[in-house]
Symmetry: C2
Subunit: 161 residues, 2 copies
């Protein structure tokens, strides 16, 4: 089942910076307005140039609309996610959370095999952007083909808030 507006965010853990640091996504979203974006892979050209940077540069605009936090998730390990965040200068703007074993991605029903595009056998996450209030999904844009940058773009999500 794919996540839809009105659904509650799953009660699962992600990792931030190191595997020891657990972040419960339900707790993170409770009582807050949060943006969650999902991507196929850290350091991939499309995610690094055309997608995540917009959410970083739009951080101020989201804050002015009452958004408390912006997080980016990917099925990569926490060391890779932290290095990618550093490379993108995401610090203080977008939190880079690792869904290393894909539990969050699978709970949302957004897993996809990117073997051909990434040269890896592991299932990754379709590109999406989401707005949630108090842990409930209010706006959701999943790329139909899983990887293009169209409806999930920051400017589109921002225009809907």
């Amino acid at each position: 089942m794919t996540v839809k507006c009105g659904d509650k965010l799953p009660n699962v853990y992600l990792h931030e910076n190191t595997p020891d640091s657990k972040v419960n996504i339900s707790e993170l979203a409770a009582g807050k307005k949060v943006i969650i974006v999902g991507v196929p892979g850290a350091f991939t050209p499309c995610c690094s140039k055309d997608f995540v940077p917009d959410f970083i540069s739009d951080c101020g605009k989201y804050k002015s609309k009452g958004v408390d936090e912006i997080v980016c998730i990917s099925v990569n390990d926490p060391y890779v996610m932290a290095a990618w965040g550093k490379d993108l200068n995401a610090g203080g703007k977008v939190r880079m959370l690792a869904d290393g074993n894909g539990v969050f991605t699978k709970a949302l029903g957004l897993e996809k095999d990117f073997a051909d595009t990434l040269g890896t056998s592991s299932s990754r996450c379709k590109r999406f952007s989401m707005y949630a209030e108090d842990g409930v999904v209010k706006k959701l844009f999943v790329e139909p083909d899983g990887h293009s940058v169209t409806c999930s773009k920051s400017e589109n999500l921002l225009s809907q808030l």
Copy 2:
């Protein structure tokens, strides 16, 4: 079966920089003296600080012993490996090859579950260093616990050549 001295390198493909760029490890090693090092994960603290940098800085010493190429492999996708190589300034010294689906790692019998240490469910590669001549393994140092930096260190391999 775990690889041992006297074995031929497996006839498998790795990726360099992008998933389109295929590198056959048998062809790469044919008629050459090569160093191959394997690591549990790109951007992990141990691999990034204590292990791979020594092979990069020892590049000249290896060349003076007749080594033609030094390659580093990990079960990460090619975009992550390329970004890590850039971060380590490995360019022109150590080639960063992605074993994204673990075919090379499994062919060597060196796969290991690093779920606890990496927060990911995918099987990774035990830390090792290897010297091969004309595609045949001549020296091999696999870390007994899979991740420590002891026998596999560059200074040890270098002293055996």
